[in-house]
Symmetry: C2
């Protein structure tokens, strides 16, 4: 088995010095970083574990991609520009083919968003990956969960439910197609988050399902949401794979999409169309912020009530 | 089982706002932090796993202490001032008594060193704790592993081998005494690290054993060390517990002491005595940096050669 130092040097050290603000990268007791003078730091941490966040046996490059993507998605929701990451990797053994695939998936996505890996730690144990990601935001300009106001319009990027549908197909041994792709390689909406700075009144990333995450957004803002089921977009792929009722359930309660849900004051609604055109990503108004608390469903299917949450879906599977 | 949000709010959120530079703490997609204008950031990550870094069944407050201490020790070796931490906690279930003890041990040590917990993540899984710690250093003033020069004196803080001896006793069901204490509640040498800034030519923290870690220090500096076995200090406790040869083996190859090993140019050797008096911690010169590579043993017992490394000790135990 490679020692920890050999392993980090071989698979991860090349990524330690791709930014000028990394004064000292991987290889000492700690890294030294020079933050820009006119920015604040946005910091997040997310761990993904085998059998909890991804099925056992998933090819390593998708695990590496996912570990970076879920953290990039958190920064996207804050409107931050990603910069530096650390990795703590717990692995049962140092299989070099696995490590090569894993580091490839992680570093490719990191490079796409200008992220330097500044520190690493490997331990022997059950497969678990902890990434800490930091980025920058103009002082006071971060988008939080707490700024939504009654009258604001609620938007989501892309479509939801696809990743959950993809995971179902993967677990049924279907290994390709757009739904499976959506689960395997979530695309963090970093640029869109940056473009929302100064306009969005609140934002959250959709990791646990639209209904639940929108509920968290409203709770933090002290407001309620009217969520119009007729407007929740369903992808062609999910409609080709299952009936509309089931697709809508997954769109509301399925997790892992890593789309953004955000609110825009009425005067700034036009930004949604601009972003849609700039990135060729659907930006859909799915409802409105109202006074009160909770998430009210309206439109066709609202009488069926809220589907079970994603946690519930997941727990049935493990 | 508590949800992730409930768990973080209950056990960890109170620690999220104890510093004025934490603009937004635990509870959103990410934290927002304001770095001081005239400092660089020092960042480290360390994970500790049950059965690898600590024995199963260890009381939770010692696990919490350890998770923070090992990271504080890394910053100490860089001469940095600790500031912000994130925690990713993988736990098999949310036992509230365990969580209370764990958060107590972690937050007490964090508070002692002025560290605010700015983000948290909990997942279900085998017990594993990943802490990412950040601190500040004056630009260009960090102490690295790479600055030792022939003629520099090599120092260590405190004594080594005690933690390894303590772990042995703990595994033999002796649960108290200074050796066991040394393993259970390692004391990171943060203030000493700060005082070494501008004087030490290199430093490393002793997590894997004096001989091996000194070897890493010399490798990074492109130098060799002459390590004088007659000068390696042995505590009264370790000498009361075992014969001198065995104690010296543990002092060289036993891990988990979290003392500092550092080098001082001859002109600055006086600082060692000043630090010793200021903190009532023994600061001992154990050898000298010389030209070459590797670690040369001299003094009584040198003929016996280097004992097996700490990794080897550990692997025998698991």
């Amino acid at each position: 088995m490679l020692t920890e130092d050999e392993l980090i040097e071989r698979f991860f050290a090349p990524a330690g010095s791709t930014r000028a603000d990394v004064i000292l990268g991987i290889g000492d007791d700690a890294a030294v970083l020079a933050p820009p003078a006119d920015r604040q730091i946005v910091s997040t941490v997310d761990t993904i574990n085998e059998n909890i966040h991804f099925p056992a046996g998933l090819p390593a490059r998708f695990i590496g991609h996912r570990a970076m993507a879920v953290n990039l998605s958190d920064l996207a929701a804050m409107g931050a520009e990603p910069a530096w990451a650390t990795l703590s990797l717990s692995i049962p053994d140092s299989d070099e083919e696995w490590l090569s695939g894993f580091s490839g998936g992680l570093l490719e996505l990191a490079a796409r968003f200008g992220v330097a890996l500044t520190g690493g730690d490997t331990v022997r144990g059950p497969l678990s990956i902890c990434v800490n990601l930091q980025g920058f935001v103009e002082p006071g300009r971060q988008i939080t969960r707490a700024g939504a106001r009654p009258g604001d319009a609620i938007f989501i990027t892309g479509t939801t439910g696809d990743a959950a549908a993809g995971l179902e197909r993967l677990q049924a041994h279907t290994c390709s197609g757009p739904l499976v792709e959506k689960f395997l390689t979530p695309e963090p909406r970093v640029e869109i988050g940056r473009d929302l700075v100064g306009s969005a009144s609140s934002a959250i990333d959709l990791s646990d399902g639209l209904a639940g995450d929108l509920g968290k957004l409203m709770k933090a803002s002290g407001t309620a949401a009217r969520l119009d089921l007729d407007r929740v977009p369903l992808s062609e792929s999910i409609l080709a794979a299952m009936d509309r009722d089931r697709a809508r359930d997954l769109a509301l309660a399925g997790g892992d999409d890593y789309e953004l849900c955000f609110t825009l004051p009425k005067a700034k609604k036009g930004l949604a169309r601009e972003i849609e055109e700039k990135y060729s990503v659907a930006i859909t108004c799915v409802g409105e912020v109202i006074a009160g608390s909770g998430v009210m469903l309206c439109g066709e299917g609202a009488d069926a009530g809220m589907p079970n949450s994603w946690q519930h879906f997941r727990q049935m599977k493990t």
